[in-house]
């Protein structure tokens, strides 16, 4: 399997030797999740906390010596999902503000800005995690945190198969384009569906071969003990908790002041 040799998610990792990179995955994962939740539960229509979150994120990015422009460029993945937020100023209720003669709902504008900010800050935080931790490490961190095994196993298989699936998909797409196929309308759903099932079957058969290969190398459903190190000591957790605790403090202050 050509794809098996290189690590999944490797293109997100920006290798360096910094305290952030060296930190064991479990505290990093917890810190990221807590930070993202603190941002997500930030009260609506109050914008100053985002300056505070930005400062905290900058500290993490500087500590990890990550190129900030690369991280910002990676935010493009959210664009398709944020397109609908552009509609909010038009369909939101009164009061309206007039910009260039167009009536925009004030609440809609605020809601759209809030959705965009929260998604971007959340993504920047997970971007720092993904840039400083390889995906297999993230999953082994989740395993150390005693997440149900079914979930971590499905997640690790998913990570392993995503790249393989993309390869197969591109092959199928090339083959379809060569034969003049270009489905884009509802009545062409049959073409899409047969491509999808062909993709599923081909990938599954490849996946089954990968799985058999894993079994024959002694895979038992649990990662080798060497990969699941015990949870790190308390000082590591304390160091990891500084930024998320500060973010929670900012979020709570905004909520109390509101």
């Amino acid at each position: 399997m050509s794809g098996a040799a290189h690590q999944p998610g490797a293109e997100l990792l920006i290798p360096a030797d910094t305290p952030v990179h060296r930190m064991p995955p479990a505290p990093k994962v917890v810190a990221t999740v807590v930070f993202v939740l603190a941002v997500a539960f930030s009260p609506p229509r109050i914008f100053w906390p985002f300056l505070w979150y930005g400062l905290l994120l900058t500290i993490a990015i500087v500590l990890a010596q990550l190129p900030i422009r690369t991280l910002l460029r990676r935010l493009v993945v959210e664009i398709p999902f944020l397109l609908f937020a552009l509609l909010l100023p038009f369909i939101g209720g009164a009061p309206h503000v007039h910009v260039l003669g167009v009536a925009l709902s004030e609440h809609g504008l605020q809601a759209a800005a809030m959705i965009g900010l929260k998604a971007s800050f959340g993504l920047l935080a997970t971007g720092v995690l993904a840039a400083s931790t390889s995906l297999p490490d993230v999953i082994s961190g989740l395993e150390q945190l005693k997440l149900p095994r079914v979930l971590t196993t499905v997640a690790s298989f998913m990570v392993r198969y995503t790249e393989m699936l993309l390869e197969e998909f591109n092959r199928l797409r090339t083959a379809r384009a060569c034969r003049g196929g270009d489905p884009r309308w509802l009545w062409q759903a049959r073409d899409v569906a047969s491509c999808l099932s062909a993709l599923f079957l081909r990938s599954l058969e490849r996946g089954e071969r990968v799985h058999l290969a894993m079994l024959s190398r002694g895979f038992t459903g649990t990662p080798p003990a060497a990969l699941t190190a015990p949870l790190p000591a308390r000082p590591v957790w304390a160091a990891a908790s500084v930024l998320p605790v500060l973010a929670i403090a900012g979020s709570l202050t905004a909520r109390v002041l509101a």
Binding site: L37, A40, F41, P44, E78, P80, F81, L82, L83, F84, L87, L88, I91, G92, G93, H107, G108, Q110, A111, M114, I115, K118, A119, S120, G122, L123, A130, P148, V150, L151, T153, V154, A155, F157, M158, V159, R160, Y161, T162, L165, F169, P183, R184, L186, A189, R190, V192, A193, L196, S197, F200, L201, S203, L204, G207, E208, V210, H211, F219, G221
Partner: protein, 236 residues
């Protein structure tokens, strides 16, 4: 269909989270017997599949945030319990690594996208499968129709959640009508695609379709052809 952060208020978010955690815990218990079964790699593959399917790669996106959901397909392929877990993993990864749906709204999103198809779509599919002829088309129609109903239910539920705890400053009727408008089309596409995928898979590899398990002809296991006395090798 993925609710972003701040779209519904905190009580609704917390309630959704509680329902989601309870549902996931139940599914984890129900699937605890699968350890290294062949189903787990298939589940991981299905997860990767839905992850890419939800990305706007498939050029049949209707509306801006309308895309296929795949929950009923997961439940009919992998069974309702594992199906919920697969869609949950996908939803979490989408929220955390692609900004698709808010992290604080994960509970509500898991209820809408993972639990509804398994709780509404799967039983309906199983019932229809029993009523319809025992053929590939019958199985496909059962799964496809259940997918349509599950998507509409999820869209209605989304409207209901917004009516209870909406916080985005948009009138409820606008949310309900636009969601239902977009998702009635999505539901049709989803139903057709689910049905066709199930039909193809059932024709080629019936062992992969959980919904069709009771249909499988129970043949006695073929005796393994072990030759007790190997032919003496003539090595002269």
């Amino acid at each position: 269909m993925h609710i972003p952060d701040g779209f519904v208020n905190v009580p609704t978010t917390v309630a959704g989270g509680a329902v989601a955690v309870a549902g996931i815990a139940l599914c984890v218990r129900k699937t605890s017997k699968i350890v290294v079964d062949r189903q787990l790699p298939a589940a991981g593959l299905a997860a990767a599949f839905f992850l890419l399917l939800d990305a706007p790669l498939v050029p049949i996106t209707v509306g801006t945030s309308g895309h296929l959901l795949g929950g009923t397909l997961a439940a009919t392929l992998l069974g309702p319990w594992l199906g919920v877990l697969v869609v949950t993993v996908v939803t979490v990864v989408q929220a955390v690594f692609a900004g698709d749906g808010g992290v604080s709204a994960l509970g509500v999103n898991i209820v809408n996208l993972a639990i509804v198809p398994a709780a509404v779509g799967y039983p309906l599919a199983a019932l229809l499968r029993r009523l319809l002829p025992r053929s590939a088309t019958g199985v496909a129609i059962a799964a496809g129709f259940a997918a349509v109903v599950a998507v509409i239910t999820a869209a209605l539920l989304l409207g209901g959640e917004y009516a209870v705890g909406g916080a985005a400053g948009i009138p409820t009727h606008t949310v309900v009508s636009s969601t239902l408008g977009v998702y009635s089309v999505v539901a049709l596409v989803e139903g057709v695609v689910t049905g066709l995928v199930i039909r193809t898979l059932y024709t080629v590899r019936p062992d992969l379709v959980w919904l069709a398990r009771p249909l499988r002809v129970r043949r006695p296991e073929p005796e393994p052809e072990l030759d007790p006395t190997p032919e003496p090798v003539d090595d002269r």
